[in-house]
Amino acid sequence: MGVKIISQDNVMIASLDGEIDHHTAKDIRENIDFEVNMRHPKLLILDFAKIQFMDSSGIGLIMGRYKIMKTLSGKLKVTNASAYMNKIIRLSGLGALGVLDEGSENYEGHK
């Protein structure tokens, strides 16, 4: 499991790699929160392109970052979620928060 974080101006992109479960979520969360608290970005993008597995811990991870970004008056976006991840995301109602990028929403629509 890995997290690669790059920041430019007010945008921070966290690219996640591997599997998200309760075990791996802790490290991912700590890495992201450390950078976010240091830089206070206006937009945090979680890139799920390289995620091979996710359970509801991934939803907890998204929701937790959503709340943090809200307290910083910033925004959260989730990008490149696969059809499989969208199955879980749909159950959570996260779509209604507007965190999914257009690509993911279109993908969902085609399913």
Partner: protein
């Protein structure tokens, strides 16, 4: 007269392991290896792996409250392609099962979404929960793996 079909168990495995969070990936990996003999699709396997991960994580986080206990799993394969997976703990038990199964209900707060049971329910064909306060919880899940013609006999 209508023929009564009795499902036969054609394979079975059991294992137990400590409630360490590193065993979450071990458990879903072990069961998916066992089920591979049914030649499931990638989607079917992903559904099962996710459901197992939910049940095992619940044992670790809730039943044993991040302390150390034993988690027991038994999986059976039936001759009609059905798979059953039983996941049992001897932890704290669930006081109100109906409430626990409501989507977004969680007693953990913080980083938990309250979606584990909703995922198990929607990704598997059947889910049964038995629990006794102070004694533990048993989750039984079933999924029918669609039989596909065998290639390359």
């Amino acid at each position: 007269m209508k023929e009564v079909k009795i499902m036969k168990v054609i394979n079975e495995m059991s294992m137990s392991f400590l409630s360490r969070s590193s065993n979450e990936s071990f458990a879903r990996g072990a069961i998916s290896s066992f089920i591979a003999q049914l030649d499931p699709t990638i989607d079917e396997l992903a559904d099962i792996k996710t459901a197992i991960s939910e049940a095992v994580t619940n044992c670790i986080v809730h039943a044993y409250n991040n302390g150390i206990g034993t988690i027991y799993i038994t999986s059976k394969i039936f001759d009609n392609g059905k798979v059953s997976i039983k996941i049992r703990d001897k932890g704290c038990g669930i006081e109100d099962i109906a409430q626990a199964m409501e989507p977004l209900f969680t007693t953990a707060g913080g980083e938990r979404a309250g979606l584990g049971f909703a995922v198990m329910q929607s990704f598997m064909d059947k889910l049964k929960v038995i629990s006794k306060k102070g004694k533990g919880t048993t989750i039984t899940m079933e999924k029918n793996i669609i039989r596909r013609p065998i290639r390359n006999e």
